[in-house]
């Protein structure tokens, strides 16, 4: 019996993704998004109680605009449409939360399109460096700022028609901006019986939603705590109007600080994940919020502050990783190498002093090849392994052309050892292009 036949009892095919850990937790992207929606639900219900069903209309228009433009844009950009991961729905909801209930309905529609456009054009889900809802909200604030009509609670609003300017009422944030002291009591601001954007009015419900997300492990406490504490500390130390110490309490309860801290600044793709970087990010958000509020260009400084800190999240991560991460290991071989002539012709590849020069040469070649292939556009390696194998082929060709033949043989011998059972496997159509140690099983017609 030939040895090859020994290994012919094939297994049923395994999906490629299985070759990482074989257990997985219960957490998934749609699951995370559902948690966020659940945390937003009480806020929406409170909004309906205060402003009537127009709140639902605004939310529906915003979500619909996001979902439709996500579908269309992914189609245009030749990406896989993933409506089912619910990120577009959450973006739409978030946007609606930052708008007043009485806003004309075309505003959430335009905002939704802007949000998804910026998300898809800056890299798509997970790679966007700007919070899409916040970006849309800031654009709306800058361009259509006069369309924001705030009405007092329990004023009857039409479901679809535009709201006349006559119904508008002052908000606590607006008064703070004008340098006046808000007329609402702290209790009214906490429970949310006041005018304002849908998501910002009830501080208690925002805190409840945030605590729910904290307990479920969706967000970490560091960003919201650092953010709100910084705002409180700065407004306490440098109050704009000299009343009493309650200015700090008012400035955190009015406007969007709490909502931005718990729901916007903790957005996964646009916030840092190193613990210390999260503190720094939160502090930065808080400081910029106070700065923007005092400089007075925007209605509320919290959103542009988070938007600006978004760009800093990845650099902050990397900075804190470099400062406090594990120290780089000096990758030196432990012993002098043992180059063993195995059958008189080739040498088994062992890194070290004897063939150190050769090694560096090979690695230089690999590095060169890497830098060259690194220039391939992201889109090609985004998707699939076909592109990956193609580039690996390119790397190998370059190695072959740049290294002398013996080293090439060395390199190949090494790859042999990397592969787990290469010699005895039955022929696989493209398995030989797979450079990893992973064992994957391709589908074959005759299983069993």
């Amino acid at each position: 019996m030939k040895v090859v036949e020994l290994f012919k009892r094939n297994l049923p095919p395994v999906k490629r993704g299985l070759n990482s850990a074989f257990l997985c937790g219960s957490c998934s992207v749609p699951g995370v998004m559902l948690h966020v929606m659940a945390a937003l639900l009480p806020i929406i219900i409170w909004g309906v109680y205060l402003f009537g069903f127009r709140v639902l209309t605004v939310a529906a228009v915003s979500v619909a605009a996001c979902v439709v433009s996500e579908a269309l844009l992914t189609l245009l950009l030749y990406k896989k449409a993933k409506i089912s991961d619910l990120t577009a729905v959450v973006t739409g909801l978030m946007l609606a939360m930052t708008l007043p209930a009485a806003t004309p309905l075309w505003i959430p529609a335009v905002g939704g399109v802007i949000a998804i456009a910026v998300k898809q054009l800056s890299g798509g889900t997970g790679r966007n460096f700007l919070n899409p809802a916040l970006f849309a909200r800031t654009v709306i604030m800058l361009i259509f700022g006069r369309m924001m009509i705030y009405t007092a609670p329990f004023v009857k609003l039409p479901l679809f028609a535009n709201v006349s300017d006559g119904l508008s009422a002052g908000t606590a944030m607006g008064m703070l901006n004008d340098g006046r002291f808000p007329t609402e009591s702290v209790y009214e601001l906490l429970s949310g019986k006041c005018a304002g954007n849908i998501g910002e009015i009830s501080s208690i419900l925002i805190l409840l939603g945030g605590i729910f997300l904290l307990l479920r492990g969706i967000i970490s406490y560091r960003i919201p705590v650092a953010f709100s504490l910084t705002v409180m500390a700065l407004t306490y130390l440098f109050p704009r109007i000299d009343v009493d110490s309650s200015y700090a309490v008012y400035s955190i309860l009015s406007g969007g600080v709490l909502f931005a801290a718990f729901f916007m600044a903790t957005d996964h793709s646009t916030s840092p994940c190193m613990p210390l970087a999260q503190f720094a990010y939160g502090i930065g958000c808080g400081a910029l919020t106070v700065l923007f509020r005092y400089s007075g260009l925007f209605y509320d400084g919290a959103y542009p502050a988070v938007l600006i800190m978004n760009e800093l999240s990845r650099p902050l991560d990397l900075l804190f990783y470099r400062l406090f991460g594990p120290k780089k290991t000096a990758a030196k071989p432990k012993k002098a190498p043992v180059a063993v002539p195995a059958d008189g012709v080739t040498e088994t590849h062992a890194p070290g002093a004897d063939n150190a020069a050769d090694d560096t040469a090979v690695f230089e070649a690999v590095r060169d090849a890497d830098t060259k292939t690194g220039e391939t556009p992201e889109e090609t390696d985004r998707d699939a392994d076909t592109a990956e194998t193609a580039v690996f082929e390119a790397v190998r060709e370059e190695e072959a052309s740049e290294t002398p033949p013996e080293e090439d043989a060395d390199e190949k011998a090494e790859e042999k050892h990397v592969d787990a059972v290469p010699e005895i496997l039955p022929d696989e159509p493209d398995g030989e292009n797979e450079p990893e140690n992973d064992l994957m099983i391709k589908e074959e017609p005759d299983n069993g």
Binding site: L11, A21, F22, K334, P337, V418, V421, M440, I441
Partner: protein
């Protein structure tokens, strides 16, 4: 208070599975010695094809960067074939079993332990090919690095991967061999105090070991928290001493000698009876089986009554660290602590991967404190030099990041690819 390390996962919420009786499978149909998994190794046979082979008989030499290590047969039978790759390099052998269990003569050392010099112990361990987990691969190699440079000696009895119980089974069935082996290893690295690291919820094992070491002042027990991946050398050091060793090739830098229970047991058999390393306990699905090294996994499954038709996937190793087998006839080697079976219709189906959302969950669970998602992203773009900069070499491939990833990105696989292609060959 129990010691622990930062990061990691609590995977043993359902409690530990009790270790039953250990099955023995000493006569599989054939065994395969297969050395091509070991980077830079080749095989030099000293027995011809067709010659009879006995248990504990030397069949050849593994020539590897660590030196020339003898290879022994775990079964008695006939050498069917020496495996050769298309370049003409030998990489293994196939031995057919005849079931007679002929044994080659072995002689152990029967003097006092105090008269054994460390050099002699290293010699015996090398001659009997006693392995250890980690990049150093062999116990003699690790002792050589650690000799006179370490200050603490830890005996690792943790078993934290769900569904794996081979180490616990070994410690429960033969605690004397493990403890005596630890004494031999302590003598070799010249430390007179051994701390046994056991997880605090492992009551059964704690009781047995506490009874055994009652009157022995050499040993003490360190309780650590139940957490995956506590059973790896790096995290044993991290839990007990508070430092993650930067490079497992240089355990002397952290001045801690960590040896697994398997190594201690094998060292005891090698020194006391002269038995070379050729058998180990493997957890197969729900049972523990003692089998010769080189037993095909299909034979193991057959002996435990697992039908091949029911398997969707067979994993050499536990469900977190293991690697899917391409074929059911892959042999068991020294590092195979378990064979995990995923049945058809099993709930452990991993959904399709989506885009990484940079949520940072992998960062919060990573026990080696690197940024897994970022390294994986760089690896996907094939920027391997940058991966090294962000600590890919520190990854121990525990799979915690994969477990928590909500987007099901195969982070471990991507980092492993990067490690294999690191400039400077820091990976293993």
């Amino acid at each position: 208070m129990a010691f622990t390390f930062t990061g990691g996962l609590d995977l043993l919420k359902g409690g530990r599975r009790p270790v039953g009786r250990i099955k023995t499978l000493l006569n599989p149909d054939y065994t395969v010695i297969h050395l091509s998994k070991n980077r830079g190794s080749s095989f030099e046979p000293c027995v011809n094809e067709g010659d009879p082979v006995a248990v504990y008989q030397r069949v050849g030499t593994e020539i590897c960067p660590e030196g020339e290590i003898p290879v022994y047969s775990g079964v008695s039978g006939r050498l069917r074939e020496i495996l050769k790759n298309d370049k003409g390099l030998f990489y293994g052998a196939v031995i057919d079993t005849d079931g007679e269990e002929r044994t080659a003569p072995v002689t152990g050392y029967d003097g006092a332990l105090s008269e054994l010099t460390p050099e002699r112990i290293i010699g015996i361990l090398k001659e009997k090919a006693v392995p250890c987990r980690g990049p150093l691969r062999f116990a003699f190699n690790k002792i050589g690095v650690l000799q006179k440079k370490s200050e603490r000696f830890l005996l690792n009895m943790c078993e934290s991967e769900p569904g794996v119980a081979s180490r616990k089974a070994l410690c429960l069935t033969d605690p004397d061999a493990v403890l005596n082996g630890a004494k031999i290893l302590m003598r070799a690295v010249d430390i007179r105090k051994c701390e046994i690291v056991i997880e605090k919820n492992d009551k059964e094992l704690l009781k047995v070991i506490t009874d055994k070491i009652k009157r022995d002042r050499l040993f003490s027990i360190v309780k650590v928290k139940d957490k995956y991946p506590q059973d790896e050398e790096a995290y044993v050091t991290a839990s007990v001493c508070g430092v993650i060793p930067a490079d497992l090739r240089r355990p002397d830098r952290s001045k801690v000698a960590v040896f697994d229970a398997e190594t201690a047991e094998a060292a005891f058999r090698a020194v006391a009876y002269g038995i070379p390393y050729c058998r180990r306990i493997v957890t197969v699905d729900t049972e523990n089986v003692l089998c010769p090294i080189g037993t095909p996994i299909s034979e193991l499954l057959f002996s435990c009554g697992v039908s091949m038709e029911d398997c969707r996937c067979i994993i050499a190793g536990g469900p977190m660290r293991g690697v899917a087998c391409r074929s059911a006839d892959e042999p068991v080697d020294a590092a195979t602590d378990a064979v995990t079976v995923i049945y058809h219709g099993d709930g452990r189906h991993i959904p399709e991967m989506t885009e990484c959302t940079s949520c940072g969950k992998c960062v919060s669970v990573c026990p080696s404190r690197i940024m897994p998602f970022y390294t994986a992203e760089l690896s996907r773009k094939r920027k391997y030099a940058k991966c090294a900069e962000y600590g890919a070499a520190a990854c121990t491939e525990c799979g915690c990041c994969d477990y928590v990833c909500p987007a099901y990105v195969p982070i471990k696989k991507l980092i492993r690819t990067a490690k294999q292609r690191l400039p400077g060959d820091a990976g293993d």
